[in-house]
């Protein structure tokens, strides 16, 4: 039996190395997606803007200094590309900047005389998200300006409590979702194509005739897929360490354990898809679409939870909250943030509720077992109907 498993693993690895298409699918695809997606990870933090600052008076300087220094854990709120009025208007009109802040020449004078001082915000409103973001950022600057100049009349905002000591960095938040995508996608593709290969290369009949039965086949396919997925995961982690500041040095045994569970989910889904469709093309396409959909749903569940009220978004959130990947993704985030590895109970995990926790205890093993069992049953039936071989 052990010899059969060893032989099968050796065969699959050899084929993978001889025909690198498997490696391309497993490694390059998540890397391309993660690289391009990580390009916009800064988007939520920093918005490029041009400022037309007409005067060098103290008030104008104070406001622009505030605008320069406003930041979150992920970086500054503004990427100020110029202060020159001529250049600013030119860049805005050419479409090189989506917004322009105009601080008038008499800004300081108006403030001194208690007149209505106005800062103009020009926005290309082809996307309402941009309009909102620029308006709120400028309000943040003006709120701080008010606080610094007339704190007595300002309304102070005090944060009494928060779930985490510091806001979780968006880059980090995104990186864990992408890690989940990479492992599930890779697990699906590797397991799926390793299985469909037996039909496409017409070796299914030989397998069905083997005196060793199905066990060596299943164990060997899972082990090979795990090896290939591990390689992909390591590459992805290294890439994200550069692009998203992924804390690669903090990967603990608990994280590896959760990644292994994610692999099992991906592998069982991939195996089921493969034995159902028996063609690698739709399996691969489905893995890519499913992987990215899972990233959008489960990778963002804890984010969308707070605004999913009514309409399709609430339905989408409810679906996402039942997916086992959502619980695992958030648990990994908390392990990284808190450094605590024992987060098995919901009471110690601040991003999950009791109902989500108990649901996940059922859905995680259920997903793996149901899809694996269904795959084995289908595999047995399908191998014996080898299609004219």
């Amino acid at each position: 039996m052990f010899q059969a498993i060893k032989g099968m693993i050796k065969k699959d690895l050899k084929i993978s190395l001889r025909n690198p298409s498997m490696l391309i699918l497993s490694i390059i695809v998540p890397i391309v997606f993660i690289f391009l997606y990580s390009l916009i990870s800064q988007l939520s933090a920093t918005n490029p803007v041009v400022i037309a600052q007409y005067s060098d008076d103290a008030a104008s300087k104070e406001l622009t200094t505030i605008m320069e220094n406003m930041e979150t854990e992920d970086g500054p709120y503004y990427e100020i590309r110029t202060y020159s009025p001529e250049e600013a208007f030119q860049m805005y009109q050419n479409g090189e900047s989506p917004a322009l802040v105009e601080i008038p020449e008499n800004f300081g004078q108006q403030l001194e005389q208690g007149e209505d001082a106005k800062v103009k915000l020009y926005v290309n409103n082809m996307n309402s998200d941009g309009t909102k973001n620029f308006q709120l950022r400028l309000s943040h600057a003006l709120y701080q300006f008010q606080e610094s100049r007339d704190s007595a009349n300002n309304i102070s905002i005090t944060e009494e409590s928060s779930t985490f000591e510091n806001d979780i960095s968006m880059k980090f938040y995104v990186s864990i979702g992408l890690l989940m995508f990479a492992v599930v996608y890779s697990g699906m593709v590797n397991t799926g194509t390793l299985i469909t290969r037996e039909w496409e290369e017409r070796t299914s009949k030989e397998i069905s005739l083997s005196p060793n039965g199905f066990a060596p086949l299943l164990v060997a396919k899972a082990a090979t897929a795990l090896l290939l997925t591990t390689v992909t995961t390591i590459f992805v982690m290294i890439l994200m360490a550069f692009t998203l500041n992924f804390p690669i040095t903090n990967v603990s045994l608990a994280i590896i354990g959760w990644l292994f569970i994610l692999f099992l989910i991906g592998a069982s889904l991939g195996a089921f898809t493969a034995v159902t469709i028996k063609k690698s093309l739709p399996v691969i396409t489905l893995s890519a679409v499913l992987g990215i959909s899972l990233y959008l749903l489960s990778g963002n569940e804890s984010s969308i939870r707070g605004f999913a009220y009514g309409g399709p978004i609430e339905f989408i959130w409810r679906v996402a909250s039942y997916l086992p990947m959502s619980y695992i993704t958030d648990t990994m985030r908390v392990i990284f943030v808190t450094g605590k590895n024992s987060l098995l109970m919901h009471a110690t995990n601040p991003v999950t509720t009791a109902s989500n926790f108990y649901t996940s205890i059922i859905t995680i093993p259920a997903t793996i077992l149901i899809f694996s069992w269904a795959s084995i049953v289908k595999l047995k039936n399908n191998l014996f109907t080898s299609g004219g071989q």
Binding site: L25, L136, S156, S303
Partner: protein, 370 residues
Amino acid sequence: MKWKAGYHAIAAINKRNIKLLLRQKQFLVAPFVMPIVVMILTAMIMGAGGDDWPVGLVNESSSEESQEFIKNLETTHSNISPYFSIMEMDYEEASAAVKNGRLQMLIRIPDNFQQSQMVYTETFNINTDMMKNVRLRLEHTVLNQLADNNELIAASELITEKEEDVWRESFIAGSSVLLAFMFTATITAANLFAFDIENRTQKEISLTPLNNIFAGIGTILTSILMAFAASISAMIAGMLVFRLEPQNLLTIYIGIIPALIACSILGIIIAHFLKRYRVIQPIIIVTFMATFFGAGGYNSVAGLPPIARAFSEVWGFSYIFEWFNPVLHNFSNGLDVSQYVILIAVACIFIAILPIVYKRELLAKNSAGQ
């Protein structure tokens, strides 16, 4: 006469391709489903509805000022909708909702609000993006309150290009339509070319008395037709679900043809090198999905971070989003002459590459044991 034979060859290849696609429905799944999946998931998860953010609000004060502040919270708005939606006013319920992440902020107005001029918050600070959205809304409300009381020292005045904003979900839907154009042209051409290699039709094509490039032209024609069909299905979905109001359609459908020719030939080039459609398919799917997010589909290039802007400058697909989105949303009546020239020049470059690909294919040993 030769011209006529070529015309018939192209028409025959196109007819065969369409029949093939209708029989092999696996080739239609990605072009027709993926742009709509991207549209639905992205528009709903990252851009659903208006700008109203659900919060809890607890008022412990009976002062007139606190009532004014609540009125401001309820009425402060963006260009498309109010900024807040008050979901819970009971402290215990709201605080529990924040702890569970069901609300991201609880705003508490204390009983001494009139004297202290202070509000308190509790947050579910799951990430900086969510917190920015909710905290900055509250500060915006404070500025409105100060303005009402003539205590605001400097105000902002918003000046927009058009009177009404394009809703975020409509922008995403519009970009998904453009994605459907480019993606479908590329993947259809790549699949058809690879299908001919894998099913050994390339060999038959190479043995016809006509130049094998006619097969390429037929494939380009099919890919463009499929791109038009996929874009129409994505557009209808956008119009029905995401308030998309597409404008200047004739300009878009004519102007995008050179880009689609280039995309189709790119698909052929990819298939020529990678040969097998099971390899080609995921690479094209993931590259286009990532292009949508990282290079102008989700947000205009000018609003992207520096590294993404630099990448978009050299990533040709970004220009399709940048040039056609304003036309689609009527922020521009049409493309500039220079943009047409560039699109046609790019198409010409790809057309010049096409014979090289087919020549290489002719020389390749593709008989696969026959």
